[in-house]
């Protein structure tokens, strides 16, 4: 009965209004919760214009952000690309907060709005709420109020100390953002606003009542022998909790020249860096999860006869754009597309659970043929990050499908060598190598604070543990080091130590070379 089927449709043409949005949302929600068993934060969907989308882009996707020229730079840059038609805007933007905020662009068609709702409001939302990294390392309910605090605080500092004073601190802090996260230690929870207020009052009180007269330095004793000096060094390292990988944290707590408000600025930058750290580790999974969810829900809606063939085709068109993976020799090749890889892996898990081959039974004895693909996926989404997810679930079938191969590249050699391809002997190697390439901690330069003598020359010593001989780009290294010096106030040096041989590969310092 065609008439009945037509009336069952959620929407008929590409225009949208709030009523249609809401009706479609409800239909999607039913499938997401009842059939996929997703578990989500309450949703808040906000309609914005393309210009506002550009704004949101340039302030790293946060609805509230303090002012800084680098966001203006990003805006100018993005807008330029957008106006020239080099880059489209994302259809959606979603914020890991409680309630979960999803931006819908007003220019989208209704079919796109449905797709975005399923993708962001359920896929990403579920992932944010359930993945262990997000659960442990971010605080979705506090982030928005924290950002509000940060914005207000920085504005207040600008009023009080001048824009340029604030700017130089933020510039330096931004340069160290990558070195401003705890990778292995859980950061303290964001305290509630009231507590923060109290802590700040205490700081201000201390600032006002501080008197240098009360300082009593122990008189330095002469005649150290080397053993004693060594013991001293290890003592003071212990006292400062060295080595420390979180440079910003170290500077915030230890720098002798920073005013309390400057420390607070470092803390703000650090908290934001930390908040985004899980996102960087779960790109494949997060996008894969969202894409898988929207794909499944859209197909389900189509099966139920609730969206028309035309709309379905439109959605499939953008879906296949999103999961398109060009080959390495294609001029469009930008690297492995996290949407494509994540989506393919999750579909693959579904296939292994429901329709395994004998190879799959060898590789995945626990899930092959179990039929419980929903549970398997929900479990994977909750308990993995990209690296471990790929290590556990990338199947030979998928390696063949993507025709993955492994290249080794040695500096100085004019040729790359093909180490493994998609065959029996290569599967393991490729899988391990691919997983490792998604390990953010392993791929980022490992730079730590190793020593400083606060009572002596206060020379801050950093150490770069060089892995596989990958050094730092010199120009940006020196520029960044100057930023460290700016925050530290005294000379800073950086030594590159080979992680395996302990050889010193290079040394640089902000001190004048005569020393």
């Amino acid at each position: 009965m065609p008439k009945g089927a037509a009336s069952n449709l959620l929407f008929h043409n590409s225009d949208w209004n709030f009523e249609t949005l809401s009706r479609t949302y409800d239909a999607i929600e039913t499938i997401a919760l009842d059939e996929l068993h997703l578990d989500v934060y309450p949703n808040q969907l906000e309609i914005i214009s393309s210009e506002q989308m550009l704004d949101a882009y340039s302030s790293v996707g946060m609805p509230l952000m303090y002012q800084h020229w680098s966001f203006g730079k990003r805006f100018v840059f993005e807008e330029h690309l957008y106006r020239k038609g080099r880059r489209g805007l994302a259809y959606e933007l979603v914020i890991n907060s409680n309630p979960c905020i999803t931006y819908l662009m007003e220019e989208n068609t209704m079919a796109m709005q449905a797709l975005v709702t399923a993708h962001a409001a359920f896929g990403h939302n579920h992932f944010f709420k359930n993945n262990y990294l997000f659960q442990q390392w971010t605080d979705a309910s506090a982030i928005l109020s924290y950002m509000e605090f940060a914005k207000k605080y920085i504005t207040k500092c600008e009023e009080r100390y001048g824009t340029s004073e604030v700017e130089v601190i933020l510039d330096s802090a931004h340069a160290l953002m990558d070195q401003g996260v705890f990778r292995y230690r859980r950061p303290p929870r964001l305290s509630s606003e009231k507590e923060r207020e109290r802590a700040r009052e205490r700081l201000e009180y201390e600032e006002q009542t501080y008197s240098d007269l009360w300082r009593t330095l122990p008189p330095s004793s002469d005649g150290h022998d080397s053993k004693e000096a060594e013991r001293d060094a290890s003592e003071r390292k212990k006292a400062l909790n060295l080595p420390e990988e979180n440079l910003l944290y170290f500077l915030e707590k230890t720098s002798l020249i920073l005013e309390p408000w400057q420390r607070e600025l470092l803390r703000i930058v650090r908290v934001i860096a930390q908040y985004f750290y899980p996102q960087r580790q779960t790109k494949v999974m997060n996008e894969g999860c969202a894409t898988f969810v929207h794909y499944t829900i859209m197909n389900r809606l189509f099966d139920q006869g609730r969206i028309s063939e035309g709309s379905m085709l439109e959605m499939l068109h953008s879906h296949s754009n999103v999961v398109f993976q060009p080959s390495f020799d294609d001029p469009r090749f930008p690297g492995i597309n996290p949407y494509a890889l994540g989506f393919a892996m999750m579909q693959d898990i579904q296939r292994v659970c429901t329709d395994p081959t004998s190879e799959d039974r060898d590789w995945f004895p626990e899930i092959a043929g179990s039929g419980r693909w929903r549970e398997t996926l929900i479990d994977a989404w909750a308990n993995h990050r990209d690296e471990s997810f790929i290590l556990q679930y990338l199947s030979p079938a998928l390696i063949r499908k993507f025709r993955l191969f492994l290249l080794t590249d040695e500096a100085g050699d004019n040729y790359c060598e093909v180490a493994s391809i998609h065959n029996e002997r290569g599967y393991e190697t490729i899988r391990t190598a691919l997983a490792r390439s998604y390990d953010v901690a392993a791929n980022q330069s490992d730079i730590q604070v190793v020593d400083v003598d606060l009572l002596g020359d206060r020379h801050l010593r950093l150490q770069h543990n060089v892995k596989n001989g990958i050094l730092l780009d010199e120009a940006s290294r020196d520029a960044t080091l100057r930023h460290v010096r700016h925050l530290w106030g005294y000379d800073v040096s950086l030594a590159g130590i080979d992680a395996e041989t302990d050889d010193v590969l290079y040394e640089c310092s902000t001190a004048p070379t005569s020393e």
Partner: protein, 441 residues
């Protein structure tokens, strides 16, 4: 039920403040780049649009980044068609081989450029020349205009009313609205008068007069209602500013390139010539620039050689003036060309030659030139000594005699960029009001 919020009406431009901050920061960098472009480019190029690459130094955001050219890496790539393990592929470029990761995020920023308009370039260029704003505006005004008749307009001043066109409109309107003409009214009035004169007292006669009176009344009212000339009819002559056809000018740049003219001196000279060029460009449609440099002999050269060649030697200033005269004779007849000359020198000249220069100027050059400016570039330390007194180099002392005799000769000394503009203004202030002002200072 989800929570929908319509944010479209929220205040826009949330990042406007950020963009302002960025542009403020970028400005310093742009200024530097413009300076460099002008220094390296041609004089005539100053007065044009400029493309400036996205500034890097002032607005760079460094961080610790792995260097692409070092170490061992592994890449997993999709789309293998023919490779088997052990195959060796040539690296496509120095940047980290066939990597997806080596293609850094910043690469595309290279082709992002600011396009600065003429005015913006001039603003940046003039910034440390310390121009008073009024004059800066004056300099940027591109051409002089003369009004030219160009059709009609519905608004304008009473002196410009075009009577013919206005009356034609009025006539058309009167016809269209059927305004009774004076003849019509007169005809009816005549008939009434005639009938009244007959003094026939029949009822039909009275009725006829009655009807005619009514008719006359209607016509009168119509005439009153519909004006003879209505404001909508009025047309004014319209004038359009037309660029003034202007003559050609040639500008002679004479520079001493003896060893004492170093980087600083040449840069100052160049800035002076640039300013002169901008100034003349405003007055003349076409200007030629002739570069003559001299050591102990002079020659015409192109701009590049003029400013950047390292050739050096002794100094005989008169050779340059002779060369200039030769070129004027050959290519720029004074009847057709307005001739300007600017001479930059540090004032050193070989003994006895200064007198020759002066006599050349007296006899020939000053008759041909609209204007001859002599700029002496001196050391910053010397400003204190020479700035006020009349003693100085041999050339300076010799030129004093020319200065007193010819009103179109000017001479002055500069030591740093900020001197250039005031000096320039002094040299070229020819209107009497301006003259007064400069004298009083």
């Amino acid at each position: 039920m989800p929570n929908f919020i319509d944010r479209r009406l929220n205040p826009k431009d949330k990042s406007l403040g950020n963009r302002r901050r960025f542009l403020k920061r970028a400005r310093e960098e742009l200024k530097r780049t413009i300076k460099e472009q002008i220094k390296a480019g041609k004089i005539a190029d100053v007065d044009a649009e400029h493309r400036v690459p996205m500034p890097e130094r002032g607005v760079g955001e460094p961080s610790f980044q792995p260097s692409p050219g070092t170490g061992e890496r592994q890449y997993v790539l999709p789309g293998n068609q023919e490779f088997t393990p052990g195959d060796r592929l040539p690296k496509p470029s120095a940047r980290g081989g066939a990597s997806g990761k080596g293609a850094g995020t910043g690469e595309s920023e290279d082709d992002f450029q600011f396009v600065l308009s003429r005015d913006e370039v001039l603003d940046l260029f003039f910034e440390d020349l310390e121009l008073p704003d009024m004059v800066k505006l004056n300099l940027k005004e591109s051409v002089a205009f003369k009004p030219r008749r160009a059709g009609f307009a519905t608004s304008g001043s009473p002196t410009n009313i075009n009577v013919g066109r206005t009356m034609r409109n009025s006539y058309g309107r009167r016809i269209a609205l059927r305004r009774p003409s004076r003849a019509d009214v007169a005809a009816v009035a005549d008939e009434i008068a005639k009938l009244e004169a007959e003094s026939n007292a029949s009822g039909a006669h009275h009725k006829r007069i009655e009807a005619l009176r009514e008719e006359l009344d209607k016509l009168e009212r119509r005439r009153r209602r519909i004006a003879y000339v209505d404001p909508v009819d009025i047309r004014f002559n319209r004038f359009e500013p037309q660029p003034l056809p202007n003559a050609s000018a040639v500008m002679f740049c004479l520079m001493d390139v003896s060893a004492s003219m170093g980087e600083r001196e040449k840069d100052l000279a160049k800035r002076f010539f640039v300013l002169l060029h901008l100034f003349l460009k405003r007055r003349y449609k076409r200007i030629d620039i002739v570069f003559i440099r001299h050591t102990d002999e002079a020659g015409e050269v192109d701009e590049n050689t003029f400013f950047y060649s390292k050739q050096s030697g002794g100094t005989v200033v008169s050779t340059a003036i002779e060369e200039m005269l030769r070129i004027i004779e050959e290519r720029y007849p004074a009847r057709e060309w307005n001739i300007y000359a600017a001479q930059a020198s540090d004032g050193e000249n070989s003994a006895g030659d200064s007198d020759l220069c002066v006599s050349l100027l007296h006899r020939e050059v000053m008759r041909l030139c609209q204007y001859y400016a002599y700029v002496e570039i001196i050391d910053e330390r010397e400003t204190e000594i020479f700035g006020t007194t009349d003693n100085g180099t041999s050339l300076w002392r010799a030129y004093r005699t020319v200065d007193s005799e010819w009103s179109n000769f000017q001479m002055t000394r500069i030591a740093r960029p900020s001197d250039i503009y005031p000096v320039f203004r002094k040299l070229f202030a020819r209107q009497p009001t301006m003259q007064l002002r400069t004298e009083r200072r």
